[in-house]
Amino acid sequence: MILPEVKQLLGILADQMRPHVTPETALVGVHTGGVWLAERLHTLLGISQPLGSIDVAFYRDDYGKRGLHPRPQKSGVPFEVNNRHIILVDDVLYTGRTTRAALNELFDYGRPGRIDLAVLIDRGERQLPIAASFCAHTLSEPLPAGSRLSLQRDDHGNLSLELTHA
């Protein structure tokens, strides 16, 4: 399967988001891939609010089964959340469980006015009633079970998509 170029997808995503961005809009990236994307989009869209990031390790629904995810990262939401328009940024939208956890975490910082979801790729097979507001690419057919699609960053900061099979 040929995976699309991240640079191109980022441009498409930014174009979709641009009409909806106001001076009050803030971006929050979901660790790890979503944070890399949010950094790029923050520049591309000229967002004035500081960039936020969250790691959903403490909010995951598989803690009882799989335990704490190793090496969780510090979350940081450096702006007033109450009544804010927030765009949550993630690399891949799949079951929707990460987004559910991220929404719960955001509400522990306050009551946002509106939350949108921006993703680079939607790979389908949702297990929760969650949809992206902005999406650069939708896979036409499901990936084989056990395969993992994620964003990678090399030593030079270049982003690429990687597909691995369990």
């Binding site: 335990g67 510090k74 979350s75 522990d108 910082y109």
Partner: protein, 320 residues
Amino acid sequence: MLNPQLNAAGRLKHLITLDGLPKDVLTEILDTAAPFTEVSEREVKKVPLLRGKSVFNIFFENSTRTRTTFEIAAKRLSADVINLNVATSSTNKGETLLDTVDNLCAMGADMFVMRHASSGAPYLLAQHLRATGRDHISVVNAGDGRHAHPTQGLLDMYTIRHFKQDFTRLTVAVVGDVLHSRVARSEIAALTTLGVPEVRVIGPKTLLPGNLEGLGVRVFHDMNEGLRGVDVVMMLRLQNERMQGALLPSSQEYFKFYGLTAEKLELAAKDAIVLHPGPMNRGVEIDSAVADGKHAVILPQVTFGIAVRMAVMSMLAAGN
């Protein structure tokens, strides 16, 4: 032999002592604690990790700070916390420790946080849980006799790493009543495991146990000599309540020779930090000018203690 604190997969299941815990496990706890420090700064200081779990604080010895910080940690993880005031409980009516524990298990306990005057009591509890097929319940040692106080040792390591970053370039002095101190034993174990090249112990002969050198530390009886050039000074509380017989002439004389004053601290590195596990005896082991001075990191220790205990509890509950 398998470390009784780890499960078959090598994950932390109980926390009883830092002695013998591998470096990567210690480092993992410190790394996991870092994101928990941020949780305590939020509008809602709570994450849902331990929702529905019951944590029993069973303290057979008085403690305010440790019990409170364990309680806060468990509550910020959304656990239900039950504090047992053992001084007024059935143990006073003659119930044995293990009978008390069996009753709490029957009430649906998921984790015990235990302090006991007898060294080894938390280990006994962990063995009992294993022997009776209740492996899913974790035990955290919150201080047992003179043996260990692992979460205090860990929060001290977190504090040192926060201010000094690299353990492998440090000279650290542990000062005071090492003989009665479970804190000192946990600190020494953690410092050596994490690669501190020089750990010093400073105290009068009557308050230092024998064979200290066997733990890989340098022993000093002269405080001025021992403090020279150190990066970290870890003070210990003079444990008056544990003193039996005449180990010291007087607390005034102790202060004269082993109390940390600004003058003595001058001998340490310019950017040295001073830790104290609390509660402090001002004017006995530490002078107020130092306790409230710019080198002291005693209150950050308390704040970091909550994050470290959150990390330990969430790793233990996951290790089952």
